[in-house]
């Protein structure tokens, strides 16, 4: 099963429409958390909202995650060691306030297991190439110094 999510804030119909169009040729069921939708997808199972526990279950049992380029989704894919395709939202299409998701996609383009699809063709190609490499839960070397600075501050020191 492929699990798709658009996060909790905003709908992202372009992604859901693309998956619905591709679904018959994918060869695996697609389940999506979609937010509000203005159409009824014909080939994928959709849920506008999902309780966190149900969301978690779907996420864990998926062979592949397809999502907007949200940090929550990237962190979750890393924690569960799932292959992840991110498809960034575009401000010009009214999909977010600004293009920070494109910046996020660029920042994570080199990360193993995080596969970036800027266009629908990339998405289709990546899905057809699965199994894709899974994301890794290993923290970056940059995490520990940040946590140390926060700990020092909480103890009243100047980090």
């Amino acid at each position: 099963m492929i699990f798709a999510t658009v996060g909790t804030q905003l709908p992202f119909e372009r992604l859901i429409r693309a998956l619905d169009r591709m679904a018959p040729a994918i060869g695996a069921p697609v389940i999506a958390q979609t937010g509000a939708l203005s159409f009824a997808p014909a080939h994928i199972e959709t849920h506008s909202v999902m309780a966190p526990t149900e969301f978690d279950e779907r996420f864990r049992s998926a062979e592949l995650i397809v999502a907007h380029a949200g940090i929550g989704t990237i962190l979750m894919a890393k924690r569960h060691g799932k292959p992840l395709i991110i498809f960034p939202r575009r401000a010009a299409l009214g999909e977010h306030r600004n293009d920070h998701q494109i910046a996020t996609a660029r920042s994570f383009a080199e990360e193993i297991g995080v596969h970036v699809a800027y266009e629908e063709e990339d998405l289709e190609r990546l899905i057809s190439e699965r199994p894709l490499a899974p994301a890794s839960d290993a923290p970056p070397a940059e995490r520990a110094p940040l946590l140390q600075a926060l700990n020092a501050f909480a103890h009243g020191l100047d980090p």
Binding site: A51, S107, R143, A144
Partner: protein, 156 residues
């Protein structure tokens, strides 16, 4: 230090990526009592020993609905009176910024950590937080342009 003297950190973030970054941030506060607040029902956090931590639900709002913001402010004031945080920390978004402002009223020292999603410029809430917080943090070294804004590292 006895149990009674342990200091409290109040950690606040909206649901989604902000909350997940907050869960990583919380690992920094070993030895403190960490209490949580968020805007999304059903989110859970764990103590270091794995037992469930206290998570208070507050009203969600954005910059366009001031009345809901007032309700959230009252919830945060009640929470601060109860847990008396010495530190309030947030990873965003607007409700977290409000938590820092309320925390300051109650004498807490405050930390803003701008989301790792903001790799080209700080978020709107993050810019405003610079006026309020005691420790102002970005996760991208190239954004560390003003003397107050600090870069120490990145969560992911």
């Amino acid at each position: 230090m006895s149990e009674m003297e342990r200091k409290t950190v109040l950690a606040v973030a909206s649901g989604g990526g902000h909350w997940q970054q907050l869960m990583l941030v919380a690992q920094a506060f070993d030895g403190f009592d960490v209490r949580y607040a968020t805007t999304m029902e059903g989110l859970t956090a764990a103590e270091p020993d794995g037992s469930p931590a206290e998570v208070t639900l507050i009203r969600d709002f954005n910059r366009s609905n001031p009345l809901v913001m007032l309700k959230a402010a009252r919830q945060l004031m009640a929470l601060c009176r109860r847990v008396r945080p010495s530190v309030v920390v947030s990873t965003g978004a607007a409700p977290g910024l409000l938590a820092l402002a309320v925390g300051k009223l109650y004498g807490a020292r405050t930390i803003w950590i701008d989301s790792v999603a903001n790799s080209e410029k700080l978020s709107m809430s993050g810019k405003t937080a610079g006026w309020i917080c005691d420790l102002w943090v970005t996760q991208w070294p190239h954004l560390e342009k003003s003397p107050k804004l600090r870069y120490f590292g990145r969560l992911l």
